[in-house]
C-alpha cells in the first residue's frame, strides 16, 4: 500500500538515473551515520569537500571529453608535471602567483599536444594519452630528479588550506567551476557541439561545425583543469611531489561513469558527474571512519561501479 503510494508520488518525476543516484547517495549517508557518530558532522563534510577538489576539477573536462566520445588518461601525469613546474618556478625565484600561471601554461601546453595529435591528426585518444602519461611522468623526474619541492609563502596556502565561513576555499572554487561548466554545456553552442561530436561526428562535421577545433579545445581544457588541480594540491599539501596525481585518472573516470556519462559518448551530464563524485568520496570517507581496511574498500568500490553503472547498455 505504502509502496504504491510512494510510487504514485514519484511518478510525476522522470524515474531516471539521477534519482537512482540520489537515492543511492541518501542510502549511503543514512548507513554511514548509523555506523559512525562522526560521519554526519559539519566538520567531516567540509573535510570531504576539501579532499574531493582535485578529482572534481579534473572530472569536469573529463566528462566533456567522454561525452565527445574520447578519453584522456594523461590527466594525472599533467597534474604532477604542473605541480612540479610550479615548485621549480617558485624555487627559481619567481613570484608565487606567476609560478601558478607557469603551472597552468604547462598544463595547457600538454593538453594542446594531446589535442593536436588527437583532434588534428585523428590519432586514437587512449593510446596517445597513455603515451603522454608515461612521457610526462618521466619528464617530472628529468626536471627535478624526483625530489619534493616545498616551502611556499603563506598567502599561497589560502587556496588549499583556508576556509570562508567554514567552507574550504578550494571547494567553493570547485563548485563555481561546476556551475560555470554546467551553464556552458546547457546554454552555449559549444555544449551542443560536444554532445553532437559524441553522437555522430560525421553529421556534425558536414553541418559545418569546426570539429577539430572543438575536440582540440576539449583536450586543452583537460590539461588546464589538471594543472589547476595540481596547483590546489600543492597548496593543500604544501609540497610538490613527483608522484602527485598517480592513478587519479581512475578515480576521475570512476566518478564520471557512476555519474551516468556514457562511456561511448553522446550522453552524460556534469550534474551526474558531481553526484558520482560525491558518492565515491563519501564512500571512501565513511569506510575510513568505520576503520574498514582499504582491501575491502576496493572490492566495495568495484561492486558499487557494477551496481551504479551496470544498467548502461552497449
Amino acid at each position: 500500500m505504502s509502496t504504491s503510494l510512494l510510487f504514485r508520488a514519484i511518478q510525476p518525476f522522470r524515474v531516471n538515473k539521477m534519482l537512482t543516484l540520489l537515492l543511492l547517495f541518501a542510502a549511503m549517508l543514512v548507513f554511514f551515520s548509523t555506523r559512525s557518530p562522526y560521519f554526519l558532522t559539519f566538520n567531516n563534510f567540509m573535510n570531504v569537500l576539501n579532499q574531493m577538489v582535485e578529482v572534481g576539477l579534473i572530472a569536469i573536462p573529463m566528462t566533456l571529453v567522454i561525452i565527445s566520445g574520447a578519453m584522456d588518461l594523461s590527466v594525472g601525469a599533467i597534474l604532477g608535471l604542473s605541480a612540479v613546474s610550479l615548485g621549480l618556478a617558485y624555487e627559481s625565484g619567481m613570484n608565487i602567483w606567476l609560478s601558478v600561471i607557469v603551472a597552468l601554461l604547462v598544463g595547457s601546453l600538454c593538453g594542446s599536444v594531446n589535442g593536436y595529435l588527437i583532434a588534428r591528426h585523428r590519432m586514437q585518444a587512449i593510446i596517445v594519452t597513455i603515451g603522454m602519461l608515461v612521457m610526462l611522468r618521466g619528464m617530472i623526474y628529468v626536471l627535478n630528479e624526483g625530489r619534493p619541492i616545498s616551502g611556499y609563502p603563506e598567502p599561497f596556502y589560502f587556496l588549499g588550506q583556508h576556509a570562508i565561513a567554514g567552507i574550504p576555499v578550494n571547494a567553493i572554487f570547485l563548485i563555481v567551476m561546476f556551475l560555470i561548466a554546467t551553464f556552458a554545456m546547457r546554454r552555449t553552442r559549444f555544449g551542443t557541439y560536444v554532445y553532437g561530436l559524441g553522437n555522430n561526428e560525421e553529421a556534425v562535421r558536414y553541418s559545418g561545425v569546426p570539429v577539430v577545433r572543438i575536440r582540440f579545445t576539449l583536450f586543452v581544457l583537460s590539461g588546464l583543469f589538471s594543472a589547476m588541480a595540481g596547483v590546489f594540491l600543492v597548496s593543500r599539501l604544501a609540497s610538490a611531489e613527483a608522484t602527485s596525481g598517480t592513478n587519479i585518472e581512475l578515480d576521475v573516470i570512476t566518478a564520471t561513469l557512476i555519474g551516468g556519462t556514457h562511456i561511448f559518448g553522446g550522453r552524460g551530464s556534469l550534474t551526474g558527474t558531481f553526484m558520482g563524485l560525491l558518492i565515491i568520496v563519501f564512500l571512501r570517507n565513511g569506510l575510513n571512519l568505520m576503520g574498514v581496511s582499504v582491501l575491502y574498500q576496493s572490492v566495495i568500490l568495484g561492486i558499487l561501479i557494477l551496481i551504479a553503472v551496470g544498467k548502461q547498455k552497449v
Binding site: G146, S150, L237, T246, V294
Partner: protein, 350 residues
C-alpha cells in the same frame, strides 16, 4: 521503480559486506589476545582511547609485520588500534585518510609519511585538536610531531648498508643501487648517505647507477637482469627497499644456475624482511641482510602514543613492556637495527 529497488537492495548488500569487513578487521585485531571479551572490558576501562597507525601503504610484507606489532600493543594496553593506509604509497591519499581519522577523534596518530613536508598542515590541524602525533619508520622533521620512532636515522641505515657492501667487496669495485622510487624521500636520504659513506671511506668503489622499480617486483627483477648485463664488472648491489634485494637475489641465483655468473661474483645486501630472503641467505647469495623488527616498531609507536595521551613523559632507557628498554635521543626513539646472516635467519618470526 523496480530497478531502483533492486539497485538499493544490492547497494545495501555491499554495505553489509562493508560491515562484515569491519567485523573481520576487529576480529583480526583481537586474535592475539586471550579472547574477545577481555579486550572489550579492557577497552571500556581505558576510556576507549584509540590510535590510528598509518604506514606508507598496505600490501608489503614489511607493513603487515608492523601491523601485527601495533595490534598486539593495542590488545596489551587495552586500546583500540586502527591500522590502515591507501594501497599505493601516495601522499595525497595518505593525507586524506589522516584527515578522515581526525574527524573520528582518535587520541593519537602514528604516521609514516610519504612526504615529510606534505604532512605538515594536517599535523598542525591534529595538534590543534590535541591529538598526539608520532612519526614512525619515516620522519617529518619541522612539523608538530612529538617523537619519531625508528630503527636508526636514514643516514645511519644508509651508512650501515654502504659499510656492509664495502667490507664484503674489500673496498673495491663497481656497485649499483636499487631503490623503490626515485621520488621517495626515505629512499633518497638512505641512498645519498650510502653514496657519501662510500665516497668517504672506500675510494675505490664506484657507484655506477641507481635503478627504480616503482615497487613492482617484475620491474625490480628486470632491472637486476639489465644491471648484470650492462655492467659486467659489477661487484655489488644494494637494495634500499623491501622488494629490491629478493628480486636481485633471484636474478643472481638464476644467472649462477645458467652459468653466466660465478657464485659469489656479485655481493648483495639490502633491507629486507628475513622471511622473504631466507632461502637466499641460506644459499649464500646474500651474506648480510639489514633489517629491524617492524613489529617492534609498530608496538613501540602505539606504546609511545598511549604514554603521551595519558600525559606521561618519554625518557631515555624507559622500559617498554614485552620489548625492553628504548633509546631516546631528543625527539628520536631508536629501536636499533639487526644483521641477518646465515646463523640467525631462521630465528626471526617476521
Amino acid at each position: 521503480m523496480k530497478k531502483i529497488g533492486s539497485t538499493l537492495a544490492i547497494g545495501l548488500l555491499a554495505f553489509a559486506l562493508a560491515a562484515c569487513g569491519n567485523l573481520g578487521n576487529n576480529g583480526g585485531a583481537n586474535t592475539p589476545s586471550a579472547g574477545g571479551d577481555t579486550s572489550a572490558t579492557a577497552a571500556s576501562s581505558s576510556e576507549s582511547r584509540s590510535y590510528f597507525i598509518n604506514p606508507k601503504s598496505i600490501g608489503p610484507a614489511y607493513w603487515a609485520a608492523a601491523e601485527k606489532g601495533a595490534k598486539q600493543a593495542g590488545t596489551d594496553l587495552g586500546v583500540e588500534v586502527i591500522f590502515n593506509a591507501p594501497t599505493e604509497a601516495d601522499s595525497a591519499k595518505q593525507i586524506n585518510m589522516i584527515q578522515d581519522m581526525l574527524t573520528r577523534q582518535v587520541s593519537g596518530i602514528g604516521v609514516s609519511p610519504n612526504d615529510a613536508k606534505a604532512v605538515g598542515p594536517v599535523f598542525k590541524k591534529a595538534a590543534d585538536q590535541n591529538v598526539q602525533i608520532v612519526t614512525w619508520d619515516s620522519d617529518a622533521p619541522e612539523t608538530d610531531r612529538k617523537y619519531y620512532v625508528a630503527p636508526a636515522t636514514d643516514e645511519e641505515v644508509g651508512q650501515k648498508l654502504a659499510q656492509t657492501i664495502g667490507d664484503e667487496l674489500g673496498g673495491k669495485g663497481q656497485v649499483a643501487f636499487m631503490v623503490a622510487g626515485l621520488g621517495a624521500q626515505n629512499q633518497i636520504a638512505k641512498a645519498d648517505a650510502a653514496k657519501a659513506h662510500l665516497a668517504a671511506n672506500y675510494r675505490d668503489i664506484e657507484v655506477v647507477t641507481t635503478v627504480a622499480s616503482d615497487d613492482d617486483q617484475q620491474k625490480a627483477f628486470a632491472n637486476a637482469q639489465n644491471l648484470i648485463k650492462t655492467y659486467p664488472e659489477l661487484k655489488g648491489i644494494i637494495g634500499f627497499a623491501g622488494g629490491e634485494s629478493p628480486a636481485a637475489a633471484e636474478v643472481i641465483e638464476q644467472a649462477v644456475k645458467a652459468g653466466t655468473l660465478k657464485q659469489g661474483q656479485i655481493a648483495l645486501t639490502g633491507i629486507a624482511v628475513p622471511s622473504l630472503v631466507k632461502n637466499y641467505v641460506h644459499n649464500g647469495t646474500i651474506t648480510t641482510d639489514i633489517i629491524w623488527d617492524p613489529g617492534i616498531l609498530g608496538y613501540v609507536t602505539v606504546y609511545v602514543l598511549d604514554q603521551l595521551a595519558q600525559g606521561n613523559e618519554i625518557t631515555d632507557g624507559m622500559e617498554v613492556p614485552n620489548v625492553g628498554p628504548i633509546k631516546v635521543d631528543g625527539q628520536n626513539i631508536f629501536i636499533g637495527m639487526l644483521e641477518v646472516t646465515k646463523d640467525n635467519v631462521d630465528t626471526f618470526s617476521f
